[in-house]
Every structure is written in C-alpha cells, then in structure tokens.
C-alpha cells in the first residue's frame, strides 16, 4: 500500500491578543491510497486547522506553522510557496466543505464553476472544459446534466449542491480529497446518498480521502482509520473496527457514551463534564484531566504531555495513567 500523505509532528498556532493559541500541537498521521482516514473531534479541537494548514489555507498572520512536515509524494506541503501550492490545490488535492450553500458562487453558472479547475490546471478551452463538466455532473448522479450545467446554484437542492461540489473537486482526478464535514448540513437520507457517492467514486478512482467530522456515527460508516483529536493533539488513533470495539482513551469512550442512539430511553443522557479547554491556556500535562472523574484525575499526568503508545498493533493512544484504559 502506498502512502499518499504523511504528516509528522504538525504544529500550528495563532498569535492573538489573548496569547498564543496552540490549535494543532504535534499531530502525526498517514493517509493511504484508496483509504479513508477520519479526523474526529469537537469544535475547536483543531481538526479543521490541521487540514487547512496543509493547503496553506490558514490565514497568516495570525496563524503560524511552528513545525512539522507533510510529505505529499516527494514534496513537503508545508515548505511550498503560495504559487507552488496553487498548482496542487484543486488539481492534486481537492477539498469539499460543510456548507454547499456558501461554498458555491451564487453569481456563476454551475458549469463555469465545475469547469474552472480544468481551465486553470489543464488549460482546456471553454467548450472542452464544459464537455468534461457535463460528464462530471453525470458521474455524481445529477440527472439531465446538459441542462443543469447552465443553471445557477440556487436552482439546486442542498444534496444536489453537495454533488456539484464533489464533481468540481474530483474533475481533475486528484490523488487526495479532503472532506470537511461534507454531510453535516444535510438530511439523513441525503447524507447517506452523499456518503455512498463519495465511497463509490473513491473505490473507482482509487483516491485517498481525509474525512473531518464530529459525528462518530458517520465515522463508523465511512472511515478505514480514525484519528481522535482533543485540544489540538491526537488522543487515539486506530483502525475503525478496533476503535469502536475497544476504545482505549477516556475521551473517546466519553464521546461514544454521549451518542443518544446508544442510550436507554428514560435515563438521563450521559454528558462529558466541563468544557473543552482554552487552547491559549492549556493545563500542563494531560489536557483531558479537568474533565475526568476525581479518582482518575489523581492519576493523570500533570508534569508532561502524555506520548502516544501502541496499545495493540496499529492502535495508538495517549499514555496517560488516568486516561488510558488497558486490558
């Protein structure tokens, strides 16, 4: 299996009036060809910043990449100039976003937008690019693409707009697709269609996918490998089945326990006590300590960050005596 993207020890921070916010603090992960790697976490855990920083989409300043590397083929994405990144963005690495209502330009016909990557990266003529765009729309299951291509985004439903985004992202046949909460804004039935579509196209084209979400249920459906992020760091990383069968870190377990589908009716829903920590003011040692039960809190590391250890083959978790649950 070949590795498409290899991120090592990525550190991104934001320099704000309230101090330095360490949004991503030493994150490492790999993405394999034809596989889907999930990044799960709550708002503010750093999952989106991780991916945005790879494509140079973090505004600098206030953002700053403090260290690390991101090997994509034989280049390090973090070392590229804006110009070199422009050649990769939208051609070899594509991205789809949460809200298809705001990420399409309401003033431009759908065809113009879907064909744009071809015009920019492959220098095709308008008529040729539009011909390919019709094919791309057909490929993502938009009925009557010859007619629809001339319409504007407001003439499409939410699910259809997300299909347009996917067509646009895949029209250049990228090696890597980054999907940032692509189904969060959609209804369940549409969500399923879009997830199935991404999976189908991935199989057919053999692309690698990074899937960012806060929804563990979606993760269980689409991902092969899962990275769980908390307070800018990975707390657990594992193949998906292993993670759901044997979550080892207290935070992952707490997240799973708070899914309403898994709770008996009538009992109060489990909630994780406290709030996610302030990233400008992280506690030293284990970041999850303030939200642990008192008896476990006493065991948590306070003097240093818990390192990731391999608890079973391929399954990594932060080695904090209070948070890591061993057999």
């Amino acid at each position: 299996m070949s590795t498409v993207l290899d991120v090592q020890d990525l550190k991104v921070s934001f320099h704000t009036r309230n101090g330095v916010v360490r949004a991503v603090d030493g994150v490492s992960f790999k993405v394999e060809k034809g596989k889907t790697t999930g990044i799960v976490g709550e708002s503010g855990s750093g999952k989106s910043v991780t991916c945005y920083s790879l494509l140079g989409l973090v505004p600098m300043p206030p953002g700053r990449i403090e260290g690390g590397s991101a090997k994509f083929g034989d280049v390090d994405l973090l070392k590229l100039s804006e110009k070199e990144l422009q050649r990769i963005r939208g051609s070899r690495i594509s991205m789809i976003f949460q809200d298809p209502m705001t990420s399409l330009n309401p003033w431009l016909r759908v065809g113009t937008q879907v064909a744009e990557p071809l015009r920019l990266h492959e220098g095709l003529s308008k008529s040729e690019a539009w011909k390919r765009a019709v094919e791309a729309l057909r490929e993502v299951g938009i009925p009557d693409p010859e007619k629809r291509i001339h319409q504007y985004p407001h003439e499409f439903s939410g699910g259809m707009r997300q299909r347009v985004m996917i067509a646009m992202a895949l029209i250049t046949r990228p090696e890597l697709l980054i999907a940032d909460e692509p189904t969060t804004a959609l209804d369940v039935t549409i969500q399923k269609q879009v997830l199935d579509l991404i999976r189908d196209l991935q199989k057919r084209l053999g692309i690698a996918v990074v899937f960012i979400t806060h929804d563990l249920a979606v993760v269980s459906e689409v991902c092969d490998y899962v990275n769980v992020m908390y307070a800018g760091r990975l707390v657990e990383a594992s193949p998906v089945q292993e993670l759901f069968a044997r979550p080892r870190h207290a935070y992952t377990q707490a997240l799973m326990r708070s899914i309403p589908a898994l709770q008996r009716k009538g009992e109060p829903l489990y909630t994780i006590p406290g709030l996610p920590p302030d990233l400008a003011n992280l506690p030293s040692g284990c970041a999850f300590r303030p939200r642990q039960t008192p008896e476990r809190q006493a065991l948590c590391l306070t003097d240093r960050q818990p390192p990731l250890v391999e608890v079973s083959p391929g399954h990594w978790a932060q080695d904090c005596p209070g948070c890591l649950i061993r057999d």
Partner: protein, 261 residues
C-alpha cells in the same frame, strides 16, 4: 381532551407568476396530549416547518382547524391571538442566527418576559431574568454579556430561556441540537427533558435525527410530502416501521446501525 388538536390542516401557497400553487401541508391531523413530547420527523421540504408555523399562527390554514384545549385558534381576533401566541414558543436550530447580536442576554430575556407581564419594576425583572438563566443552567452574573461571548451550547441555552420567558405551555423545538457538537447535544437534550418534566410543558420536537428523536419523544409522527405517513409510540415506529418511507429513513440513519455493533 387533548391539549393541542390539529384537524385536517392544509396549507396551500397560491400560484404566482412563474410557479404553480404548492400545497405544503395536506390534510394533517394530529393531537398532542398535555405534557407529551411528540417527535416530528421528515426531510427538508416535507412540510415540517410550515406545519409548525401554522401551529404558531404565523401561517394561516387554507383548510382545517387548530384547537388549543378545545378552543379554535383561527376564531381569535388579533389581540386575543397575540396573547394566545405567547402560549407557544419556538427554539430554532441555529443559536448563532436566532439571537440578536446587539442585545445583552438581559435585554433579550426581559423582552420575552414583558411580552406576557407588561411593564414590571426593575427589581422584579432582574429576579425573573436571574430565575430564567438559572433554570437553563446559566450563571445570572453573565446577564449583561452579548451572545458572541458565549459558546454554541450556551447560546442555545439563552434561546431556550427566551422561549420560556412568557411562560409558554407548548414548546416547538425546530432541530434544536442539529448544529451542536455531540457532547453539547446531550446537555441540551437533558435540559429540554428536565424542563418538560418540571414545568409540565408539552413539546413538539422537530428533527431529522432519528437517534435523538428515539431518545426524547413519547410518540413519533413521520411526515412525507406534506402528509403524516406514520404515527405511533416511538419504540414501535422505530423498531417495527410499517410505512416504506419510515423504513427508508431508518435505513439511512448511521447512528442506529452503530447501536448494533
């Protein structure tokens, strides 16, 4: 007698230039008992929101009636209607969009309280606002802060406090947790359940997330193309769905399959 009764409600939006007449709600009949939580499930565009607007008396019915404790709401004059409307309050999906960013929590909540009570002396208002904030789990010391100073979960608490301001009897919650993180979701669901229990509120809980509905609702109504296609006890509808559309919805829900893992 049921608390709220919807009889054969139909809402048709008349034809305009360039569009044909559209019937968003087609002869819906529902009744909600006092203290009951009714889940309303369906996709975008199925008429859920139009139905809830019709209950709020924000959208006149083309045909049918809505009865609150036996009294026909459409027979009220505009003043009576304004008072009756206070009995229904709504909580919306996006707490970022539904709160006025230029008003403090105090200002937002006093407006809601005054809608029912009229003018109140300052001390009494403060008392009411502090009680509301405590009820939804917010510290009353933050009453003079603005919405942007709160997190998403806290904002939804403010929106819930505002809905409770005029002492409503029916709460319509339109996707109140869909925009929130999992861990915050559970807190808000717990809060809504406690409020219904403690205040004897009746709730119409609109959602497309079946796992949340399964947990919170006593009964579920499944809506498709403006019609209720299935209605029954939550457990029964979700474990033994009769209508093909309910079956399709259940099949699409990823969380429920997770439960079997």
């Amino acid at each position: 007698m049921s608390f709220l009764q919807i009889q054969d409600a139909t809402v048709t939006f008349p034809a305009r230039r360039g569009s044909e007449a559209f019937t968003a709600v087609k002869g819906v009949s529902l009744s909600i008992a006092k203290g009951e939580i009714l889940g309303l499930v369906g996709e975008s565009g199925c008429g859920k929101s139009t139905l809830s607007r019709a209950i709020m008396q924000l959208q006149p019915l083309t045909a049918g009636r809505i009865l609150l404790e036996g009294g026909d709401l459409s027979k009220l004059d505009s003043h009576q209607l304004r008072m009756a409307r206070l009995n229904f309050q709504m909580v919306f999906q996006d707490p970022y969009a539904s709160l006025n960013p230029r008003r403090t929590v105090f200002s937002t909540l006093t407006e809601a309280v005054r809608a029912r009570t009229g003018k109140l002396p300052k001390e009494a208002l403060w008392e009411r606002v502090a009680a509301l904030m405590q009820r939804v789990g917010l510290n009353p010391d933050f009453a003079l802060k603005y919405p942007h100073e709160f997190s998403g979960g806290q904002r939804q608490r403010i929106a819930i406090a505002r809905a409770l301001g005029p002492d409503p009897r029916l709460l319509i919650a339109d996707e109140p947790v869909s925009a929130l993180d999992v861990s915050i979701q559970s807190q808000i669901i717990n809060l809504l359940l406690n409020l219904c229990r403690d205040l004897g509120l009746t709730m119409l809980f609109i959602s497309h997330d079946l796992s949340v509905v399964r947990y919170i609702a006593d009964r579920v109504a499944v809506m498709q193309n403006g019609q209720i296609v299935e209605l029954g006890e939550t457990g029964q509808v979700l474990t033994a769905p009769q209508h093909p559309y309910t079956q399709k919805l259940l099949e699409a829900a990823p969380a429920l399959r997770l439960a079997e893992v």
